[in-house]
């Protein structure tokens, strides 16, 4: 037990590693603030395109979405970070993360928003159009707000996954929380920094998990 406390919950090590960990925590927040809007923007684009009636848009779009849902995000990230420089495209760690997350999370957000748009009855858009709103206005003011409300639990759930997923940026040496914790561990020969990072993630994300748990229970129960 003493060995366990010494290696995983060592207060002295926490104090020593604090500046490095704090930098990492800030970078994780910044990274999330970058990739969540990027993914949402990609998702809105995909969802709007998927309302197109012509199969020449719908089918390529579906292949695009399924491709990026099928590729593990880490594979995509490594491909962009380590593969593209071979043809002279060196986008750096931040660039690679931004592009990878745009493609991956964009596909997920797109699927969710598409389902949301489809859940809004056709009568809504017809009524909106008949009052004189243009297609774009009807989409922006009538359909999207209802669509977002209908799939809000899924949107929050996906955002939670995106924030958790930022930890893979450590693989391309972006100094976010997990990367900094590993650095601190290799300096101190002690696993406490990684434990501290885990605690930080938990404290940050637990309220979201609680909220989701309530929303999901209600949603699944409501299907009967």
């Amino acid at each position: 037990m003493d060995v366990f406390l010494e290696t995983f919950l060592n207060w002295r090590i926490v104090q020593e590693a604090w500046p490095i960990l704090w930098q990492g925590f800030q970078a994780t927040l910044l990274l999330s603030a970058l990739v969540v809007p990027l993914g949402l923007a990609g998702g809105v684009m995909i969802a709007l395109l998927s309302t197109a009636t012509t199969p020449w848009v719908r089918w390529p779009l579906r292949v695009w979405v399924d491709t990026f849902r099928a590729l593990p995000p880490l594979v995509l990230l490594v491909f962009i970070f380590a593969g593209l420089p071979f043809i002279g495209l060196d986008v750096g760690a931040w660039g690679a993360v931004a592009i990878g997350f745009f493609l991956n999370t964009g596909a997920y957000y797109g699927e969710i928003l598409r389902a949301g748009i489809e859940s809004v009855p056709r009568g809504q858009i017809e009524a909106a159009r008949s009052t004189g709103l243009t297609r774009g206005q009807a989409m922006a003011y009538i359909v999207l707000p209802q669509a977002v409300r209908n799939v809000l639990p899924d949107l929050i759930s996906n955002t939670l996954e995106v924030v958790k997923l930022t930890s893979i940026a450590s693989v391309v040496a972006l100094p976010e929380l997990l990367f900094q914790a590993r650095q601190a561990q290799s300096v101190t020969y002690n696993a406490t920094p990684i434990m501290a990072a885990a605690v930080a993630y938990f404290v940050l994300l637990w309220p979201v998990v609680r909220l989701l748990s309530r929303l999901e229970n209600r949603q699944l129960a409501g299907r009967r």
Partner: protein
């Protein structure tokens, strides 16, 4: 060399691809094994926890809810790193494969418990009461009346979550497992050519594209009419 030649020479280099194809195939087999072991263990543990929770023992339920919340909030890679790089500092060594399997199993367990539990609570109380009044015991009611109804509505969310978590097997490459991504990374550093990564990406698409399409089909097939 023109730009196009440079592109094909880098990403579709036939010589390099032929050389590393066997390694990628080995990695493919390893990834499939890892994924299957995660799915079996994760779903079984998740169902077990949900059933235990149905007994309604307060302290036990708090423990279950906390465990589930913990593994839903922690990024899988953090758990893998903690198990693989952290435990050795306390004298416990896990192989990369075991660390990845254990981490992703715990994550799937947490998500599966949540979904199974939601399914169980969605079965109307009248079903419980009717079953009990015909003389079935608590366990019999749960097993023969409640669970069959609960499991059906859990299928779509469970499928999607399982797919998402098994894609996390690529994280095992971080702890030196020679799965598809691990083998591809090794290939790139030996050949100094990114074609093995192209092969790796293709391998993942072969593995997961049908699964994603299947998940989409299941979602519409089992969808509850609103």
């Amino acid at each position: 060399m023109t730009g196009w030649e440079r592109f094909t020479d880098s990403f579709f280099n036939a010589r390099v691809m032929a050389e590393y194809l066997p390694k990628i195939v080995d990695g493919f087999v390893l990834t499939v094994w890892l994924a299957l072991l995660i799915i079996v263990a994760g779903l079984a543990l998740g169902l077990l926890l949900a059933v235990l929770r149905a007994f309604g023992l307060r302290p036990l339920n708090w423990l279950i809810v906390f465990t589930v919340d913990l593994f839903r909030a922690l990024p899988p890679l953090v758990i893998i790193v903690l198990l693989f790089f952290g435990l050795p500092n306390a004298g416990i060594e896990l192989s990369g494969f075991v660390a990845s399997w254990l981490a992703l199993t715990l994550v799937l367990m947490a998500f599966a418990e949540e979904i199974f539990w939601a399914g169980i609570t969605s079965v109307p109380k009248g079903q419980w009461e009717a079953a009990r009044s015909t003389g079935l015991g608590f366990v019999q009611t749960l097993a023969f009346v409640v669970l069959p109804q609960a499991l059906r509505i859990t299928i779509p969310p469970l499928t999607n979550r399982t797919i998402a978590i098994t894609k996390g097997t690529a994280l095992a490459s971080v702890v030196a497992v020679q799965d598809i991504l691990g083998a591809a990374n090794a290939g790139v550093s030996f050949s100094f050519n990114p074609s093995p990564l192209t092969l790796g990406a293709i391998a993942y698409l072969i593995l997961f594209f049908p699964v994603v399409v299947l998940g989409r089909w299941i979602e519409t097939r089992f969808a509850w009419r609103r």
